[in-house]
Amino acid sequence: MNGLRNLTALQLGAAIRRGEVSIPEAVETALEAAGEAGCNAFITFTAEQARKRAEELQKGLKDAAGPLYGVPMAIKDNICTKDVKTSCASKILGDFAPPYDATAALRLEEAGVVSIGKTNMDEFAMGSTTETSFYGPTLNPWNRGHVPGGSSGGSAAAVAGRSCWFAVGSDTGGSIRQPASYCGITGMKPTYGTVSRYGLIAYASSLDQIGPLARDAADCAAVLDAIQGQDPRDGTSLSFEAGGLLASLDGDIRGMKIGIPADCFGDGLNAEVRSAVLGVADVLRARGAEVVNLSLPVMEYVVPTYYIIAAAEASSNLSRFDGVKYGWRAEGYEDLVDLYCKTRTEGFGAEVKRRILLGTFVLSSGYYDAYYRKALQVKGLIKEAFDAACAKCDLLLTPVAPTTAPKLGESLSDPLQMYLSDIYTVSVNLAGLPGLSMPCGFDAAGMPIGAQLIGPALGDRNVLRAAYAFQQDTTWHTAAPAMAGKGGSEL
């Protein structure tokens, strides 16, 4: 079936329910495509389990099956999957196979999806390029000389390369939205606390959130309907009315107020990106939305605030990787302290060690107030600024990243420069807000450009409704990279 790979997840789900496509057939298509893609998007394939599950699901197929029933997908390798290797793309986790599932993974299973494997990422989700993986970099399906973005680069490349119909990733400072943007797909970080973090291996607990990377906004809505909801295992998960996102997509955004913060379109933003993102405003206006200009006078503080808080929490969260309970242990240690030091020094990559040291520093005696406490205060100011902006409009429109995907090997040499490219995404995590990245054009080199829609807390529905409306009138999201294997280019 040639067009199969270019269907959206919802279209495939419908075809499965109508009996036009069998689940084993969809799974074989995905496994074959993933195997041929050559982007190093996966760390682990779970082909055997996927085939077995496909047979079972096919037998259990009912008319009333949910919209994602039988759809093959992939899971970022920092989300725990029972008895399946979960590595965080780090040497230090070795062949760790957790004896439990993340809540999000369980909910997806209940929705009837089929996981074909675990996707590549920046080690411990620290990075913007998926080059810090112990398992080698993932390549951008639009041009293998470029990075797919990060840290959910494997998830983004797998979806963009049509190796599966959607994936879940995690977003601490842009790790879903930025690779979605670089790979020309739609990705969303929902409001903090709406998807359980139980089983998501923590990078920065106060900022981490699981979300979908998919072909379009409707697929994202369907995935969020499946995974959102309060979880008694996660004390930070919110009590709110989950579900109904997909059903709310009607394309009607008349009267919706879209705010454009001038502070996000200033120096440092690539001109092609700027004009493509501003083009989104025109499309939305044409569908009846109102566009207003406003200010967000905190942008120069967001990156330092983010890196202080994220590094501090990471330094604590990653202390448990010590070669005692799970994962890899160094050899040739002299005593207990040496065991810790050797394991951690050899088991973590450079970027992870940099952030652990930075985080340890900002929490250490004598520096806590000047850095960590200060950052928590500025976080309060950033949240206030976003709340004020959200009071003046329904959604904010900003770029996702200052540029399109950089070339492989360009970013890691200057960590500070790499951190600065997170400017448009990290503030959304600091303020706990929902943010979505969607394709809105290509640069001259043919690399995708993404636009970001940001909503108020628990405003996930309006974010998706606006993106859905945009995608009714545009085709950027349907474009597939030419090199995406056999089935992809034939349509």
């Binding site: 200060k374 309060g380 100011l381």
Partner: protein, 95 residues
């Protein structure tokens, strides 16, 4: 602010990392760069601002005191680099 190699040594010990000399020097420079950039926060007056650790004002998330069955021990031990039938093993850690 100036970051010295002594400071990097100190935080390395705290975080149980032992960087080779060359890596330590590079890291010292990078940290100094990053921290210098972070000083921009000092231009903000935050004397009246409460530190915000939780972004949403949720409170009192508790569970009932009801026992659930514990995990199968083998499941908990199976990923350990060194273990015996019942415990994780480490080099001598008690007097």
């Amino acid at each position: 602010m100036k970051i010295t190699t002594e400071m990097v040594d100190y935080i390395s010990v705290l975080s149980r990392l032992k960087l080779p000399e060359e890596e330590k020097e590079r890291m010292t420079g990078e940290l100094e760069n990053i921290l210098a950039y972070m000083d921009v926060l000092n231009t903000l007056d935050t004397s009246q601002v409460e530190p915000m650790s939780h972004v949403f004002p949720i409170r009192n998330v508790v569970r009932e005191d009801e026992v659930a069955p514990s995990f199968d021990r083998e499941q908990l031990l199976k990923n350990a680099p060194q273990r015996d039938q019942e415990a994780f093993l480490v080099p001598k850690a008690v007097e």
